[in-house]
């Protein structure tokens, strides 16, 4: 079965017969009627949460609603035999999208043809301040880890940290840590501390492989924090790090050393 059929299988489990009939009449229509169907979907399709344990191209659909799934289906049904027209059609949808349409488009990026041509759309979704649109690129979406440059990837992760969003929901979080990101997190923490604010403790997981004498000073600060979660974060960084001085720092805090032995970062995933 191809992608289109697989998607329709999930739709069949979740949609009423009436909804399926509407989808089928639209999916076989002209480009323009499909474009209109994409826009008008919520007029005919309910917003019930999708029930499915199938993963397609790295997308699990667990947090999707049915109207979003149907929109994704229409996108996959778009005729791509003339790639220029295909791209133009999608660009029109992007440029005129209201918020729920934007969410559907962004969370479907990995399902589209020519995934690389949507890079600017994806990084624009990182730039947005509209929460749901940002979340659509950040969470449960394989696009960023596959196609983002290191710079774009780091922006995504930093913006999540900056806005107190749950970084553990970023696909590929543990696959793309890097030195630049670790330094940026350290710098962000310094700014926050200077303002009497904090960063989410689990952000420190991303410095683990890049500990040096400078960042270790931050970790010492976390050990000295009055916040239990900051202390635990410090212990977890030191436990998982290869940096020799980290180990000697950890044994100075016997209780935390013990505590960290039985815990992983999931304890701080909020």
């Amino acid at each position: 079965m191809d992608l289109k059929d697989n998607l329709f299988e999930i739709i069949k489990v979740n949609a009423s017969q009436k909804e399926q009939d509407w989808i089928e009449t639209k999916a076989n229509g002209s480009l323009q009627s499909m474009q209109t169907a994409f826009v008008a979907t919520p007029r005919f399709i309910s917003k019930t949460p999708v029930n499915s344990d199938i993963t397609l191209r790295g997308i699990s659909f667990e947090t999707w609603t049915l109207d979003r799934l149907v929109r994704a289906y229409f996108l996959v049904c778009l005729d791509n035999s003339d790639i220029e027209i295909y791209i133009k059609t999608l660009n029109t949808l992007f440029e005129t999208a209201e918020n729920n349409e934007a969410v559907a488009l962004i969370s479907s990026l990995a399902l589209l043809e020519n995934p690389e041509s949507w890079l600017l759309r994806a990084t624009d979704a990182v730039r947005t301040n509209i929460g749901v649109v940002f979340d659509a690129i950040a969470f449960d979406n394989p696009y960023a880890k596959t196609y983002f440059s290191e710079l774009a990837w780091n922006q995504l992760v930093l913006k999540c940290i900056f806005n107190d969003k749950p970084i553990h929901k970023i696909q590929g979080l543990d696959e793309r840590p890097n030195k630049e990101l670790a330094i940026s997190i350290s710098n962000l923490a310094h700014e926050r501390w200077a303002a009497g604010r904090t960063i989410p403790p689990q952000a420190w997981r991303l410095v683990t492989n890049f500990l040096d004498e400078i960042i270790l000073e931050d970790i010492k600060k976390l050990f000295a924090s009055t916040n239990d979660n900051d202390q635990l974060a410090a212990a977890l960084v030191c436990k998982n790090s290869e940096f020799p001085l980290a180990k000697s720092e950890l044994i100075k805090h016997i209780e935390l050393d013990e505590k960290a032995k039985n815990l992983s970062w999931s304890a701080l995933e909020v």
């Binding site: 007029r43 917003k47 029109t92 918020n99 749901v132």
Partner: protein, 339 residues
């Protein structure tokens, strides 16, 4: 006219009201909001893109739970299609999101306003992209459209957009002109009827004492804009509701980039309450009639704002900052500290 005793004492010579008003002025509480506590309001015409977050906070505090933002002119003419596209997109995008951060349900009407209908080359292009926006979620009508100078071009695009409203099954929000209002209102209605549009699908906006009777007689909805200096004052509005009753009458603020008052609806409700209009009538004029008129679009689900914890399924996922716990971040305006 002064309404508070304290002001009367300071400026006795300015008060020239009736004996009844003088009596009332002595009993009015300092805070008019006390009269409308617990009431919910729907402002079916307000241009939030021109307003600040302070206004959103004030709307929430005053009980405004949902609003309609009609597409209008930005104070100066747009020079290209892309400006229109971006503007329409912002009404269903950024502004909708901004409003949601305050727990206010934001709807809009989409249309080519009468002034810019006069740039025919551009108007043609706008007509082509309108259908893309009319079918979007939360678009509750075609608007605000109608006449300004009452030119041939205005008429041409008014007619075209009436046809689009029929095709899309959407109500129409009709702007009536500042100058030669009576004639413009009559013309707008007769053209709508000529296009076989059900008057129950048309909201004639910016009415006054001179236009209301004809609008109601013909079966249209009559909207009144409470706007300082140029449109209706709310004392006049109270008298109109007393005279015509609450059927098919609604009020709005049309607050925009001019000197206007986003709290026009709750303030007028308070004044109606003070002047003895029933709660039921106030509810119709300040809430229910607007919902009934625009819900004919099929795009208004009252549960979205009557029970605010039931938020849109697709918005319920993580990271939705502001609705969390029903708390709106507030700035203490009296504090010198900004933190």
């Amino acid at each position: 006219m002064c309404q508070k005793e304290s002001e009367i004492k300071q400026n006795p010579s300015h008060f020239e009201g009736t004996a009844e008003e003088l009596e009332m002025s002595k009993t009015i509480q300092a805070n008019y909001m006390d009269y409308v506590k617990g009431m919910k309001f729907f402002d079916p015409h307000i241009h939030m893109t021109s307003r600040t977050t302070d206004d959103y906070t004030a709307l929430v505090d005053a009980g405004v739970v949902a609003i309609i933002e009609p597409a209008f002119w930005l104070g100066q003419p747009r020079t290209g299609l892309a400006s229109f596209k971006d503007y329409y997109s912002s009404l269903v995008g950024w502004e909708r999101f901004r409003s949601s951060q305050f727990g206010i349900k934001h709807y809009c009407t989409i249309g080519l306003n009468s002034r810019e209908a006069n740039n025919e080359a551009l108007a043609e292009e706008v007509m082509e992209i309108l259908p893309l926006f009319l079918y979007k979620e939360g678009v509750v009508g075609v608007g605000e459209i109608g006449f300004d100078d009452q030119t041939a071009a205005e008429e041409k695009y008014y007619r075209q957009q009436l046809e689009m409203s029929k095709e899309a099954g959407l109500p129409v929000q009709v702007h009536t002109p500042h100058r030669d209002k009576k004639k413009g209102t009559e013309l707008s209605m007769s053209i709508a009827l000529e296009h076989a549009i059900d008057p129950g699908m048309v909201i004639i906006d910016h009415n006054n004492e001179e236009t209301v009777e004809s609008v109601l007689d013909k079966g249209f909805w009559a909207a009144f804009t409470i706007y300082p200096f140029t449109k209706m004052g709310n004392e006049r509005m109270v008298e109109l509701v007393k005279k015509y009753g609450p059927e098919r009458i609604m009020i709005n603020s049309a607050a925009d980039w001019g000197i206007s008052d986003p709290l026009a609806v709750p303030k007028t409700a308070a004044l109606m309450k003070i002047r003895g209009i029933s709660d039921e009538a106030i509810k119709m004029v300040c809430y229910q009639n607007a919902i009934d008129a625009f819900a004919q679009s099929g795009q208004i689900n009252v549960a979205d704002f009557e029970t605010p914890q039931v938020i849109d399924q697709s918005l319920k996922f993580n990271g939705n900052t502001v609705l969390r716990g029903g708390q709106i971040p507030r700035v203490d305006k009296n504090s010198i500290f900004i933190s």
